[in-house]
């Protein structure tokens, strides 16, 4: 038997096994039993349009706030971590290690409750505002590492060329390093954005007013009042509607970068 023939045979067998597995899973599932709990049409209909106009909208707003805040704070932390000044480096490292090591749930809880107790200060935006501060803190720790990696990925020669032209360190950073760093990290940064979209579901731990509800809280409200899991499924679909275009964008950017190399 020739090798190429054998290879075709192996490939054929793999195909058959693969299709068999898919068929088995699909057929052995009792779709009729799932449907009333997970795809109840009446329940689904009762969620609209509010689930989009309030819940999805709030998810997007919270995501943008946490992302913009995270990028600004993250940029500061990244520069501190790369700074020659030792205490800055320590502070940034400690901050990043701390907030990357803790579950976001606990951090949000801490900021929502410990901060007001400690400082006798109510953050703007009430409980959601406090939760958002926690989310910004967590995301900035991750984003700081992404930005630092981006800065370090800019070839050292760029810095040297800029400095030997007489540019100051600040101007070098602004005009030469950061523009390239942000281009390099657009894919991982978009990934951070997707992660934040999903982490907004943790804001609930800080408590939420009716008009402030995002997708997960809204879905859980629906779940308790209807005693049915359909709201979670609808929420899941809406998450995909928001995140999938972004992950597609990341994939496209990565392909683009690869070609550019």
């Amino acid at each position: 038997m020739k090798r190429s023939t054998r290879r075709h045979l192996v490939q054929g067998v793999l195909y058959v096994v693969f299709i068999a597995v898919v068929l088995f899973v699909v057929l052995s599932a009792d779709w009729g039993r799932i449907q009333p709990y997970f795809f109840n049409l009446d329940v689904a209909a009762s969620l609209f349009p509010e689930i989009v106009l309030t819940a999805a909208k709030n998810t997007v707003i919270y995501t943008l706030i946490a992302f913009v805040g995270g990028v600004l704070l993250g940029l500061l932390l990244a520069l501190m971590k790369l700074s020659p000044v030792l205490p800055y480096r320590w502070l940034a490292t400690g901050y990043i290690e701390l907030f990357r090591g803790l579950p976001a749930l606990l951090v949000i809880f801490g900021f929502a409750y410990a901060l007001p107790i400690a400082l006798s200060w109510q953050p703007p935006g009430g409980s959601t505002g406090a939760g958002l501060i926690g989310l910004i803190i967590v995301s900035s720790a991750y984003i700081a590492e992404t930005i630092r990696a981006g800065i370090e990925a800019v070839p050292k020669g760029q810095m040297e060329a800029a400095r030997s032209l007489g540019l100051t360190p600040l101007w070098t950073m602004i005009t030469v390093i950061l523009p390239q760093a942000f281009r390099i990290i657009t894919p991982p940064l978009t990934n951070e954005l997707v992660i934040i979209i999903k982490d907004t579901s943790l804001l609930f731990i800080a408590g939420m007013a009716l008009g402030d509800r995002e997708l997960t809280v809204f879905a859980r409200d629906g779940l308790t009042s209807t005693a049915n899991a359909t709201p979670l499924v609808i929420a899941a679909l809406l998450y995909l509607v928001i995140t999938l275009p972004l992950t597609q964008l990341v994939a496209k950017l990565e392909r683009h970068n690869k070609r550019g190399r």
Binding site: P155, A161, L167, T168, P179, G260
Partner: protein, 261 residues
């Protein structure tokens, strides 16, 4: 930490004087960790002189060149550029650097800027030139290296040889008093080397002070006023090209030349 001698600047005052050499290096040592790379270099380049530095890989040629505008921090020794002691911590390095043009083996163009922007950036930020003046100077230098029509191209759209000529034009746009080259043609395809060497020869003819680290023995012989052979972190031999290349005195020089010629 860095032993600083003030004698040079005290003798000559600040600013170039006709008598002072363009570059004067005295007892320069440079250690990376435990690796002594430069072991007491005495070296100078006179005004208008073209000095070619040759030597095997790892002998410290690049390190010497990088010390001259403090891209590397010398471990000990003095470097005086146009009468200014650049190892003095009070020296305004950014100002000195605008007077020393450097061209690297990797062209280090700024990939996110057009050719014209590459040439104007440092003029505007470090030399505080106006937009129009900077563009004018840039175009003049692009013409000099024969790339007037590429002003609006991005670096990635150019061949290696073109990129290197842009890098030269960028350095010239700062109106430097001297130019340092670190193997400017090593990263080029053989048939692109000629154009770059041609530009350098033109510069030499115009009387530019030049320090050129190179493996192009033809260039060294034809253009160099003096050839310096380094090995193991010391200057082994120097003199006019005919002597050093044609009739080397030291065994190490002979061995090296037998391999590369």
């Amino acid at each position: 930490m860095i032993p600083v001698s003030h004698t040079a600047s005290e003798e000559t005052g600040r600013g170039p004087t006709a008598a002072a050499p363009a570059i004067e290096v005295r007892e320069l040592c440079k250690t990376f960790g435990t690796n002594a790379v430069l072991k007491g270099i005495d070296f100078h380049v006179d005004q208008g002189e073209v000095v070619c530095v040759i030597g095997p890989s790892g002998s410290g040629k690049s390190t010497l060149l990088r010390c001259v505008n403090r891209l590397e921090e010398p471990t000990s020794g003095t470097i005086v550029v146009e009468g200014i002691d650049i190892t003095d911590s009070e020296t305004d390095l950014d100002a000195v650097r605008t007077r020393i043009g450097i061209v690297f083996q990797q062209f280090n163009l700024f990939p996110h800027l057009t050719v014209l922007q590459n040439l104007t950036l440092a003029q505007r930020r470090a030399k505080k030139r106006g937009k129009r003046e900077a563009a004018e100077v840039a175009r003049k230098n692009l013409e000099k290296v024969g790339l007037s029509e590429k002003a609006d191209a991005f670096p990635t759209q150019l061949s290696g040889g073109q990129q290197q000529r842009v890098a030269i034009a960028r350095a010239l746009s700062m109106d430097p008093d001297m130019m340092l080259f670190d193997e400017p043609t090593s990263a080029l395809d053989p048939e692109l080397v000629g154009d770059v060497l041609e530009v350098m020869k033109q510069l030499a003819r115009e009387g530019m002070t030049m320090m050129v680290v190179t493996h192009e023995m033809g260039f060294a012989r034809e253009v160099g006023d003096r050839v310096v052979f380094m090995d193991g972190g010391v200057v082994v031999e120097q003199g006019v090209p005919e002597d050093v290349l044609g009739n080397p005195q030291h065994e190490r020089t002979q061995l090296f030349l037998s391999k590369v010629l």
